[in-house]
């Protein structure tokens, strides 16, 4: 009985996953001024088997300041500029540049999302979002990494700029340490190390430089796809005793170099 139930659950999950369609962006990372090609595989979606598909795109999902793409047209009558190019059975592509598609400046564009639809809006795919634009303008923040893009074999330095902290505990945190977790291609934890003492570069800046395989023992042949880092430490309570505190967990995706 258990086996049958498991099979049903797995089957339903597989159908659901397949029904989402598949999106590939080329290049994988891009700024709002780069030309990007979206490739959408509509297999398993309500658009499967159709020849004419239109993109409905929107910017800055969930972060404010969003706009519909200038090419969208009306929901019940997509503009011809939104028509995706058929590249094969169930496969469609669309080329765009963020600033031109949304009529927004690079500093305004944070991410974008889209869906595929029929011209009259009778059928559609789910939303695919959010896809981040690489910043063209440097924005100081309490947490940052150097370099901005790296793979799992590179030296990476994580920083905590304490004078930019917005949380009271983080502003007062001392005895600063770093927690690192590395993930493989399946999204499983490949290794983690907690409480690595951070380097105090100045009164307001803490850092930690590392190469993953120097921090944790990785299984042979494992390919890392991302890591998370978290700054943690202590603050004094009202009685002067040390109390543990920590910042948010920050996720960094590894870049695939070629």
């Amino acid at each position: 009985m258990k086996k049958i139930l498991l099979t049903i659950i797995l089957g339903v999950s597989a159908v659901f996953a397949f029904a989402q369609g598949k999106v590939t962006l080329s290049p994988a990372s891009f700024t709002a001024e780069d030309e990007v090609t979206i490739t959408l595989d509509v297999t398993g979606t309500p658009l499967a088997g159709l020849d004419d598909i239109y993109i409905w795109a929107f910017s800055n999902d969930g972060v404010g300041g969003g706009k519909d793409a200038l090419t969208n047209g009306q929901w019940t009558s997509s503009s011809n500029d939104a028509k995706m190019l058929k590249a094969g059975p169930n496969l469609f592509t669309f080329k765009f540049t963020g600033t031109a598609l949304f009529g927004q400046s690079p500093s305004e564009l944070i991410n974008f999302g889209f869906l595929g639809k029929t011209k009259d809006g009778g059928k559609q795919t789910p939303d695919y979002k959010p896809f981040k634009f690489d910043p063209l303008v440097f924005v100081p923040s309490q947490f940052r990494v150097f370099p901005a893009k790296m793979d799992g074999t590179d030296m990476t330095t994580v920083y905590f700029q304490q004078n930019l902290a917005t949380d009271v505990n983080l502003m007062r945190m001392y005895n600063v340490k770093v927690n690192l977790t590395f993930y493989d291609e399946a999204g499983n934890v490949a290794g983690s190390k907690m409480g690595i003492v951070a380097v105090r570069e100045s009164d307001v800046l803490y850092s930690l430089s590392f190469i993953p395989d120097r921090v944790v023992t990785l299984p042979t042949g494992v390919k890392l796809t991302k890591f998370t880092y978290q700054f943690a430490g202590s603050v004094k309570d009202a009685n002067g005793a040390d109390v543990a505190t920590s910042g948010p967990v920050n996720e960094v995706n590894y870049t695939v170099f070629n």
Binding site: A28, S29, F146, M155, F210, R214, V256, F257
Partner: protein, 165 residues
Amino acid sequence: MKNIKYLLMATCALSIWSCKPEKFEPITTDVNVVKQMQGTWTLSSVIQVDEDAKTKGFPYKQLDVTNVYPYKDLVLSFQGDAQGNPSTFSITSGNAPRITELTSGNWSVDNGQAPTNIILKNGTTQSLLTFSSYTGLKSGKLNIKKVKMSNGKVILSYQYEFTKK
């Protein structure tokens, strides 16, 4: 009067005949880069450069990571044949992080006179290093670079400075 005329003509002829392009000596002596590369080198500095940040003019462009791990343990050896042509190489990392996936094999350059790329090969595996500059070679410094690219765009590089043993 006639003699003076002939004398003047002869002087002019001699002056014209004596004109020839002046041969300038080279400003510096020839640098045989390939030959000067040969020998044993120890890694003395590693600078990580965020090329993307550099392009965008962001404030954090490079970081000296030499002392994060014992990079200075790394020894690189370029050997040449009897004619001074590139032959074999070896990289002994010690406790230093690896700078390429290869530890030994054959090396070559893309241009014998003015090389830009150093090609390391072992079987079918190949690794590419590029010259940062030749200027240090005479004083026993080898400056090379490893570049990482994504979709044809240079994203990250490591600048390695070696000192001749």
